[in-house]
């Protein structure tokens, strides 16, 4: 009897341990992440904001992905065959790809997605100019047929600068490109849980069980996207001090872009690690209004290059030399197109020369130059302060107009004279991938009315952008980038003010953060118990 009882107890204990083990094995892993901003839109074609891009990479997949060395690698594509005449690209999709609603991914979905993307994106529009047709061959195969060989096909399909060609089901991709989609079904490693979304506070993603990762190791946006966490929660915490306390208190696991002021505190905490995911970083820029004086004159615009002390800007914007670097290049340093052609002024600032150029431009120093100052923007505001001081130092009269960022976005579209709500100078910043080539965004456009605010207007620069797109091979592209750079200074397109990186802080329980040279990604991330 006693032995029977002992045996029963042993069985019960063993079962309990086993069940406990199973319970542990089945416990859901939730990764809590504090993003740099709130998710303000859900349609990755509807916004170029980084936060929307991060959302996009969680729930959508791409045909190609850019690896850590900036090389496009197949992602949803199993095989690509380029025709002998180099005009036809035939893509075959991988086996087992499914949408989050359980339907198989088909070639027609990809063609519809590419059409919607090409209607919105600068690189897509460029591609459309030489594209003859997009053709569905069968359920898994489609073709892009070009009028002439085009060297940017895979680069465009893998581009990381928004807008990104994310794939969506045909019924969703057929939405007017300028209207927001209303269904958020992708084929990426995570699915968006709309019911749990509290705008301004929380965004929830759940692992997509049917996602089939590639077999190659993950490398930035390429390779096997293995979703280790079952659930990802973005907690939007506006206040830096609160986010710090939440991380220290173990309430969140990863915090994107903490202030550099907090770095010593974070580094002094043994349970917290810091990492730089985007080693390319961001670039600050000074934009001119090219249509009204004084910056309708290229000499005045060139003067601002000579007045630019990048170190002063970077000290004001970032303040930590370990995280910033001067970069006399329109195309962000550390990427293949980096070139200092024509940009000697940025390497050796000369305020006296700047003053002379303003005089040569015929500018009356007593007239005010209007500069828009977004006091709520952490890059443009300190950059404005530096510009204003440099201009005042050479005797210019500067009218600093303080406002919030949303107002700057509105005001900078005004072509009026400064006396009537117009402007002369405004600062901004962009992600490194956006400024890694002359064509990925409208930042480098010189298409007058159709181009970027400030309306730079130079046919030669526009031709060089197209020439860069058509050039084959990195060396040929580099040569065109150098031509663009030289002409960019001659025309005083805009002034690059240097670049910097930010960092992520995370609990030491988290590992596997990938270096992407852009936004953080969530595959490969692991959280230990």
């Amino acid at each position: 009897m006693l032995s029977q009882m002992k045996s029963a107890c042993r069985t019960f204990l063993a079962s309990a341990i086993l069940l406990g083990g199973i319970g542990t094995a089945m416990a859901e892993t939730t990764l809590r992440f504090v993003p740099h901003a709130d998710l303000q839109a859900l349609d990755p074609m509807g916004s170029t904001a980084d936060i929307v891009k991060m959302h996009g990479f969680l729930i959508y997949d791409t045909l190609y992905g850019l690896d850590e060395t900036f090389v496009p690698q197949p992602q949803m594509v199993k095989e690509m065959v380029l025709s002998q005449d180099r005009k036809t690209y035939r893509f075959t999709l991988r086996d087992g790809l499914k949408w989050h609603d359980g339907q198989p991914v088909k070639a027609e979905d990809c063609v519809a997605s590419l059409k919607r993307w090409a209607a919105r994106d600068a690189a897509g529009q460029l591609m459309n100019r030489v594209l003859s047709e997009m053709k569905v061959v069968d359920d898994k195969t489609f073709e892009l047929v070009f009028k002439e060989p085009y060297g940017l096909v895979l680069e465009s399909l893998s581009k990381v600068a928004s807008n990104i060609p994310f794939m969506m089901p045909k019924r969703i991709a057929e939405t007017d490109p300028f209207k927001e989609i209303e269904e958020y079904v992708g084929s990426g490693p995570y699915r968006f849980v709309k019911e749990a979304w509290v705008p301004g506070n929380k965004v929830v993603y759940e692992k997509f069980a049917d996602y089939v990762p590639r077999s190659e190791p993950a490398s930035a946006f390429a390779g096997g996207k293995i979703a280790n966490a079952d659930r990802i929660e973005w907690l939007v915490i506006r206040d830096q001090q609160t986010a710090l306390s939440a991380l220290l208190g173990g309430e969140v696991d990863v915090w994107e872009n903490p202030s550099l002021d907090l770095l010593p505190v974070l580094q002094a905490t043994p349970s917290i690690k810091t990492e730089t995911v985007n080693k390319t970083g961001r670039q600050a820029l000074l934009f001119f209004n090219h249509v009204i004086p004084p910056f309708d004159n290229p000499k005045a615009r060139q003067a601002m290059f000579w007045l630019t002390n990048q170190t002063a800007y970077l000290q004001a914007i970032n303040g930590n030399p370990d995280f910033f670097r001067t970069c006399a290049s329109f195309f962000i340093c550390g990427t293949p197109m980096e070139t200092d052609a024509g940009l000697d002024a940025l390497k050796a600032p000369n305020p006296e020369k700047a003053k002379e150029l303003f005089k040569e431009a015929g500018w009356d120093f007593s007239r005010p130059i209007v500069i828009l100052d977004p006091t709520d923007e952490s890059v443009a505001h300190p950059a404005t302060v530096v510009t204003v001081q440099a201009m005042r130092d050479i005797g210019l009269n500067v009218d600093v107009q303080a406002m919030d960022w949303a107002t700057v976005l509105k005001r900078r579209n005004s072509k009026e004279q400064t006396s009537n709500g117009g402007w002369n100078l405004v600062h901004s910043s962009v992600g490194g991938q956006v400024v890694s080539t002359p064509v990925w965004s409208i930042t480098y456009s010189a298409a007058c009315e159709k181009g970027i605010f400030g309306w730079p207007c130079d046919q030669q620069l526009e031709d060089l952008r197209l020439k860069w797109a058509m050039a084959e091979g990195v060396e040929a592209k580099k040569a065109v980038a150098a031509e663009y750079s030289t002409r960019g200074f001659e025309t005083g397109h805009h002034v690059p003010l240097g670049q910097w990186t930010t960092y992520l802080a995370h609990s030491d329980k988290v590992s596997g953060l990938l270096s992407t040279n852009d936004v953080p990604v969530f595959w490969n991330l692991k959280k230990a118990d």
Binding site: S162, W197, P199, G200, A406, L409, I442
Partner: protein, 313 residues
Amino acid sequence: MLAFIAKRSLAVIPVMAVVSIVVFLLLRLSPGDPALVIAGENADAASVERIRMALGLDQPLVSQFLIWIRNMLGGDLGTSIFSKLPVTELIAQRIEPTASLALATMLFAILVAVPLGTVAGATAGSWLDRTLMAVSVIGFSVPAFVLGYCMIYVFSLRLGWAPVQGFTSISEGILPFLRSIALPTVTLGLAYLVLIARITRASVLEMMGEDFIRTARAKGVSERLVITRHALRNAAIPILTVIGIGVALLISGVVVIETVFNIPGIGRLVVDAILKRDYPVIQGVILIFSAVYVLVNLAIDIGYALLDPRVRY
């Protein structure tokens, strides 16, 4: 009394109408464009214009206003330009944290402040009175966000008694709910508490010198009853007034406290909406806030009449 209540209630309608017009015009006439915010930094002008058309922002101001008023009267406050969720749903998502915080703060402040102020008033000049008033000066002077950070450091990070941030719904259990609002309540409530305490003290002190108090004492009524039944009741009107005024203080304070403690409430909703120029959300929330403020003041007015039968407007 019913006629008085009806008259005061009807006065709410023109107030809310004026608020609606002012809110709508202020937003539309202020600079900023949600289409630009949605489109992002790298969008071209054509894309921005298409987004503006899709949002209906290219329509004349009068048409936009009439559509908004018509929908609002039908209970539809519109749809967020950014999240595409109905404003009513966004407000519903956030009403619980804000209402919980506001109610808890008022309860905390009134339940602590009125007894403290009464004791201080009744014992004016004593060490207790002086201590309470000195503490109240400190309480009134410390900015809420500084106090919030200190509370987080001590009670969350050091003692682990409360979470650093976030809100737990009451549906997930009373204890987690109370833990999540304890620190924000005390932080937000302190300034409110000292305001009410000081007014209570002053009012009670004033009443203690009145003839009816002397009469009550002469009749042999105990000091406790003199204070609570005679002095405090007659001192109630200024206390009620300051509680009403405090609601406005509470509404502005909620925005700060919700940010410090990362509480997903209406205060943060409206601040985010203002920064993005999410017109429907701003309009909806300000209307709700205004309605709450107007209704609280209506209740206070009615309260005056109930407490003092001589009060008629």
